[in-house]
Point group: D2
Chain length 370, copies 4
């Protein structure tokens, strides 16, 4: 019998977790089908509705019931960011494994507490950085590890969407200072998670943050000042000796789910864009002269674990399936599989440290060590 699962939250990411828990055993034959024990939401009513919809045995308006339930082995935390710390720590202290959505927490202090709780508990605690699970990102990693592009010396990272690009859209909570720095929290963590997997640690940064719109309209007339920054960019240096640039923009008209990587090395380079997530481009200086060029590789059974989803190449995985892979890796980590590939709370804390260093740099207008 598989592990017992409790899910907190039924929004965008809650549903995504539910799909992952539902599909993981169908996709991966090495996994026992998890038991979907309970779903917690803001009210009993919501919880009842979504537990039925998502296939959980019961629902509750009190997430602490899940913590207390001995039938539950692992807790998915997909509630609003400000609750991550309390929920994750409570779950870990109750001896449960934790799968927490990113960003880890709304303050570095909370993130640190979470990491400490995880360490104390001896349980598995990971963050939902699902982009690293893309078979194309795994391919990029193996290409780098095998030395195919030589020593990495320069990196460019971009993440852009346009959900806040409309100046006429009403002010909403994401422009409130309480929600964080803006694009740095919302977006920067994603390309940084990819960087941590593909290259390594950032050691110093100089950052700038900008507001495309100083104020936004209120629904009932009038305007309210925008309190954080939809745009951020930083220059950085890495432990591995590379220079790089990070650029994030959540008001970038035309960009929908762009996470673009450019990684240059002494023997080649790699390009990736999440908007075409089933493709990786590789340039090798070892190719014959006159025949050198970026090779567009389509996701295929040669790129684990693609084959578990489709046995034919070029058929395309979707965003949600990255979450299924993440779920499988979490189960692997819980089962003690050595090569399970996740961002745990310690690695997640590193990412948070970079984000906060960037924010400090933007404020003091100068370079900051991470």
């Amino acid at each position: 019998m598989g592990l017992g699962v409790g899910l907190i939250g039924s929004g965008y990411m809650g549903k995504c977790h539910a799909m992952a828990w539902t599909s993981v055993a169908t996709v991966f034959p090495d996994v026992e089908r998890p038991r979907l024990v309970a779903l917690a939401d803001a009210t009993d009513e919501l919880a009842a509705r979504y537990s039925k919809s998502f296939g959980f045995s019961r629902g509750t308006g009190d997430w602490r019931e899940l913590i207390a339930d001995p039938a539950i082995d692992v807790i998915s935390v997909a509630a609003p960011n400000q609750f991550h710390a309390d929920m994750a720590i409570a779950a870990l202290e109750a001896g449960k494994h934790v799968w927490c959505e990113k960003p880890m927490a709304t303050s570095l202090a909370d993130a640190t507490r979470m990491q400490e709780a995880a360490k104390r508990s001896g349980r598995i605690a990971i963050l939902g950085y699902n982009y690293i699970q893309n078979p194309m990102i795994r391919l990029a990693r193996s290409v780098i590890d095998e030395g195919r592009i030589g020593t990495v010396n320069h990196i460019r990272l971009e993440m852009d969407e346009d959900f806040m690009a409309d100046a006429a859209a009403p002010f909403y909570w994401k422009s409130d200072k309480a929600s964080g720095y803006g694009a740095l929290d919302d977006f920067a963590v994603h390309p940084l998670s990819l960087l941590s997997v593909l290259h390594g640690r950032i050691t110093s940064v100089v950052a700038d943050m900008a507001k495309p719109y100083a104020a936004r309209p209120l629904r009932d007339g009038g305007q309210r000042e925008v309190e954080n920054h939809d745009i951020a960019q930083a220059l950085f240096r890495t432990e591995g000796g590379a220079s790089g640039v990070l650029m994030v923009n959540r008001s970038a008209w035309g960009r929908k789910g762009r996470i673009a990587l450019q990684i240059f090395g002494s023997k080649g380079s790699i390009l990736f864009d999440q908007e075409r997530m089933n493709e990786l481009q590789i340039y090798s200086a070892d190719d014959r002269e006159g025949l050198q060029g970026y090779r567009t590789i389509l996701a295929s059974p040669a790129h684990p674990p693609y084959r578990q989803f489709v046995p034919a190449p070029g058929h395309g995985l979707g965003f949600n399936e990255l979450k299924v892979i993440e779920c499988h890796e979490l189960l692997g980590r819980i089962a003690g599989r050595g090569d399970a590939h996740v961002i745990d709370f310690s690695a997640g804390l590193e990412i948070e440290r970079v984000v906060h260093a960037m924010a400090r740099s933007a404020e003091k207008r100068g370079w900051v060590d991470v």
Copy 2:
């Protein structure tokens, strides 16, 4: 309580059906969670293994047990092609709805029998033409229906993969005449399913079929003649007055899952390629001079039912998720929803007729009316 489901087959498409049945209620809140009653496979042992893996309550080596089981309301037929007719007809005669993988059958006679059985039964019987379920194809249809590209006058359809491109790969059953015409059965049905949805009926064809390799090696040495055609192409005319070309090739090195459409009209055109299944390109002659160009539209919540999977644009659906949509449409059809969008056995028979007309044309070296 949702419908009772029986699944025959646990291979590529069997697993794909299982994923769809598992996910459909999680994704679509208007659907009751189906009951996964039983899975049938070639042996009891296989059936036991996969029923567990896929979450079915029990397994059996005898598919007729599923037909006989009153707890089962709908049967997924994902067994080898030569069994489709018997299984689908038996299921329909037992009063069950049928979701049958394509190609419909290995002969026109069988396909006709299936269509007749469906008609007699009064049950819902559909074919697994999941490419039509892509939100981008639905967008293409609405763009055409709204007249945005004017009257369609020319169409080009391509489907290419390279799984049979390796001349050194051993002879296998797909090169045996018993498996059918070759690329025509394997591939042509897919772009034809898209054509049937986007434009309408083909009235006449002239076709050619070709073998890239006359013989293929046997595993134990020696060679065996290839008995059907990996490549086929046809010119056609449609009821709607358009001319067109269909091209299919399963030995096309470099192509992995290409299904490319070019649809030209009197006011614009549409391009699509399944290898980039989350994109649709539209050209409108109504755009301002000097600013005309193909617009690359990324799948987004504006394109139903994308929003059910992800509420943010540009995040990308995968091939398997088309099957989830198909499953939802099947359930909608069963529930009597008028706009449920499927290829039923009657529409499927039309597609088969075109394929067989092309084969006749290639043999007699001339134009053939469908």
Copy 3:
């Protein structure tokens, strides 16, 4: 002192020839600067204006003056198609070399006369098929010749523009039967010139031709029937054993200068599109598993004669520069350089034969041997 040049015509292609004659010695250091002796146009006045603009020493309203001028060694024929035969034959009979724009002539009989005149004269007589001069097409040829994609077994050729796509545009001479078959004359010759260089002869065809608009408006009101076909497509077989498809459409909204090639072989494939004329895509089955993909090669000094134009890669040649290369090849052929790469009147006649065979096939609705 370089060769003496006479140019007949100052329209689109006349200007293009003038640019080529002006630039060829600047670009290619092995060439003596040609003397621009005289330009002929419809009237003395036009000829005077354009001879000054294009840098020719004098102009004349009578093209036969150029034929009679002993200072002229080579004649560029860029006059309307119906005059090609008379002009080229007169020039050849006067002992001049000829560089004639395509299509060769408006009838197969004329084209044959031209080819015979060339043979008799012992002079160099070539056609303006400049697309074959693209360094990327030369690269494609060398890739095929070196066996990198193995034995070619399938070919798709497309040429599409939209200059006749507007149904509301007034009837003009290109829709008149006197101007020829339509897209077959206008377009098909171009991809066929590429095919002749990259693969070889077509042996049989079955073709279809279509009219997107049955009639077009007259400027003074009313409508006039369209007498030829803006759309044509054909299936074909080649001497080399390949099957293929040719598609041309001059009413294809969105396409501007598309000439797309797909060439599939037993070990790889090649893609090209003239709209991105500085790129060639190559797929090799010899690449390592998991790293296979189309490689996009940018034009560079490794691809002769690109280096003569720009010593840095990726800077891009333009359409007009293909004509400069063609001019250089013509001069090489005149100078007896063995590897000069042109479509002479004999090769051009072969292309005409294919076009006329396609037209016959469309009329008789069946396969035709070339």
Copy 4:
């Protein structure tokens, strides 16, 4: 009779100027054919050879002969960078117009002297920033000027090539400190020229520079330290209120002639990449919901002065043709045409100031005002 031209230099850019001077009157009917009076090169011998090849009346090993020649009205300076200042100033003081290749000079002091000499002379003095002449860049400018993407708020500029990417290639002069900062001089000026045309002035910067290789091999064995930086990046703010990032890398394996722009505004965005120089991508938030996407616009007669080169759309201009346009703009400026579009020495000096500010910023590790 047209202006008299003197050209100094016969290398890469010298040849490019020669092609422009040769073609400009053929392409542009409003221009009188320039007289190619004399070419100067390092020696009489080289000058003799290239003057013949490029069509100049005579050659000389002494560039000052050109300055002294009253038959010469305009001097093209395409000699090595360290000579630009002396040559340009001498020419201006002799009353000649100057067309000088970039970078303007090797020091800010020299650049300033040049700008002052130009001002004093009353002659036209421009720099060879030909990328701004691309019809697609002009289109971008008009799109911005017409407000189609609203207020520009964020800009990303990249320029990358790989001609110095090979770590095994021998040390050559470009890695010598005497040649300048490295990628900043070589590359940054180009995207900055585009920025100056499309948006406006940069007011502050923070930059970083990096060496992918600390040393490079000497031809005779041993290694020599690399003294400048192949990689540079900077954050910046503009007078127009936008934030931005500039990235340049001349050791970027895979990049050949990339100059990529991303310009985001309050109503849309624009993308451009010089490697596909005949395309511009525009996204407009005014497009209908569900039909929004980047539109790929191909260069066409609707985009001046494309039509002068080819009357048909999508046929593609080349890099060299940008120089022909630049030459035409120079002649227009000389003739007093008000809208002639060039980077004169004053605008060029602004660009130099930004580059030097970036270098200072990289040294002092902090923000610098321009």
